[in-house]
Homo-oligomer: 412 residues x 2
């Protein structure tokens, strides 16, 4: 049982987290938001008040914080009496925020794997390079640390666990498919931090197949998926966080992640990558200025938050899970469909931020009421999925199941 | 009659200029090369010696110089006894180098119009914004200043003058076509400084038609040209220096410039431009670093000089000139075809640098022997073309003429 939430970060996902925490502040207590740029916290707070999102009167406050500073982060956790930290800042700060939670006893929840600025697509399993090295100390000190609790990674890990537990004796394949069939009306934009978005796709694509890591190039392997609501969509084998924990928990299954891309995205990406403009390594201009090209691309692209007002269409994200039940092959698709315009109407954000920001609040609610207060480091598939899916239903991300028996709510 | 040459700049064009000056140092005297980075001068000097290009024993020396510093440039002109300055540095330094020539009495020759870093595609005529403001003082002081003496602008201006004087009573249209049908084997590269290359194409396309400036977008107007050697090639109405002087000297003619682009170049250009990455205006990264995107793109692209060893194929650049002769319409194509590999074999540069670097040396030879020592500011079509075309024949850029009477050397 924990309460009072400190949100790290003040981007589009943090805005969703703040709104959802506010809507549940009777259960979560005080809400604090910390960012390098406190004006971004203030803008989120204004947005929460504009929507009258606070369920009951309570604390909602912004703070300036360099989250790479463990002492400063620890002090803020203590000063605000926060027992739950939702880290939706840059993935560069994961380890320092986690260290602050370990120092203070607060529960830690994030939505993406730790990254170091100068490195991309490191040796698999990715969690082994950073987060899992803290597993032992979390267990020793009884620290609850829930890794990758966004939609993907996050909800899709819970979908896999749910499908396997419910529909099969053994699992043979988990194919996670992420399709954004929405339209933002810009020439080009990424749906979250361009720097983080591109870093996902500029290195080796790791998948887990036949009990071993397989390596591919981005856009090398494509597949057309027939999906509810959004129809047939082409997606490409991509590297993604959840492959690196699901493969550890289900080593006998193939684990693959498929991200949908249109021809226009691929063209822009290919041009930028081939020119070296997506590089995380600095170059020096003729004038002697040292600069990371990717950071300049980020500075030129639209702020993902600015896409929200005109975003239309839907997302479909889910897991095709195959296995054996009573000696017979079974297959099920567990999924959610979200709507960009509905997300904007509710919390002022587009659908990608919405699907990423709601799940960590569902996790926080389960930490708050003790259900998921595991006093240990956990990936999402290591926690009981049913209470989580129930919370997601309530918070606006309903789960559906499609198989030979039809297309229905997961708990129908 | 003037002698001793100071070359400003040490890029790919400067290398060609140095080689050609060295091959003619019996006529030109001492040769000096100045650049911010003196090691680039040294590399050119080494290349000249490697090819044993010096016709007679003589001075060939490099100097560190900030060519924006008029006093330093004037001092170097005086110290080296240079009476001819060939400015093939960045177009940002034109006016300061010209001022140094005015201060010292040296003849000034350049190959591209002056530009200010923060401005692109200014109000036409472009020469009116900078160079022509110095016309009066050049006349007063008897300063020879030859503007735009590369291939285009430069040779193509002389082609226009030659075609008009030789084949027609009145001119009705000058269409300059620049085709590089060569291949450098890279994913993408520009043939000269990417910053200057892209700046040409990111603003309004000005052409002179029906006695007035017409405005178009880049790649808005395309035309397939049937050309000698390189065959049919698609080129696009583009903004270019020579349109801004030819239209002043031949106001009753339409004056257009057409640059050849393949679909791949256009795609890359379009992506970069639409993302804002070709902007000459600074952006600020999330980390607070102020940087001009175009300068980062330049830092990521191949050094144009590095293309030379593997460059194959040919360029075709020339003027389709239409007019009236004895009441009948006439049309003539005056052109040159150059070969990338031959250029590399001779001077260690690719064909684009070769075609840009040979003509200012031809102009310098005509200043040296007095033929073009005009004691005034001149655009190229304002000087007698025949001695210049004769020098170009001798220096490796032969001129040909194609019309209803066949395809032949200009002086056949």
């Amino acid at each position: 049982m924990k309460k009072n939430v400190l949100i790290i970060g003040a981007g589009g996902v943090a805005q969703v987290v703040a709104h959802k925490c506010a809507q549940n502040n009777d259960l979560l207590g005080d809400i604090h938001i910390a960012s390098r740029t406190v004006s971004k916290c203030d803008a989120i707070i204004a947005s929460v008040h504009e929507k009258s999102a606070m369920k009951v009167d309570g604390v909602l406050q912004g703070h300036a914080l360099d989250a790479l500073d463990v002492d400063a982060t620890s002090a803020l956790i203590r000063d605000t009496g926060s027992q739950i930290v939702i880290n939706v800042g840059s993935p560069f700060v994961n380890m320092s925020v986690l260290d602050a939670c370990i120092a203070t006893g607060a529960a830690y929840i994030d939505t993406a794997i730790h990254e170091e600025p100068g490195k991309i697509c490191e040796t698999p399993p990715w969690y082994g390079n950073y987060e899992w090295k803290k597993r032992e100390i979390c267990a020793e000190k009884g620290i609850t640390a829930i890794l990758g609790a966004g939609f993907d990674p996050g909800v899709v890990n819970a979908y896999a666990r749910y499908a396997i537990d419910t529909f099969m004796d053994t699992v043979t394949a988990i194919d996670i498919v992420d399709i954004n069939a929405g339209s933002h009306g810009k020439y080009f934009a990424t749906n979250f931090d361009p720097e983080i978005n591109f870093r996902e796709f500029t290195g080796t694509v790791y998948s887990w197949q036949s009990g071993a890591w397989q390596e591919n190039e981005m856009f090398e392997v494509g597949h057309d998926w027939d999906l509810p609501v959004v129809g047939t969509q082409r997606a490409y084998l991509s590297g993604h966080d959840e492959v690196h924990s699901l493969s550890a928990n289900y080593p006998d299954a193939d684990v693959r992640f498929w991200m949908g891309f249109g021809a226009h995205y691929i063209n822009v990406f290919t041009v930028l990558k081939n020119l070296g403009l997506l590089s995380e390594q600095p170059v020096t201009t003729a004038e002697g200025l040292e600069v990371v090209p990717l950071k300049v691309v980020k500075a030129c692209l639209p702020d993902p938050a600015s896409l929200a007002p005109n975003y239309t269409g839907k997302t479909c994200i889910g897991d095709f899970v195959k296995g054996i039940k009573n000696g017979q092959p079974v297959e099920v698709f567990v999924y959610n469909v979200a709507d960009h315009a509905e997300a904007y109407a509710e919390v002022g954000s587009q659908g990608i931020s919405y699907t990423a920001g709601v799940p960590p609040v569902a996790a926080a609610l389960l930490v708050a009421d003790g259900t998921w207060d595991a006093n240990a480091m956990k990936n999402m598939e290591e926690l009981p999925p049913a209470p989580f899916l129930t919370q997601l239903d309530r918070l606006g991300l309903p789960t559906r199941v499609k198989d030979e028996n039809g297309d229905r709510p997961w708990n129908a």
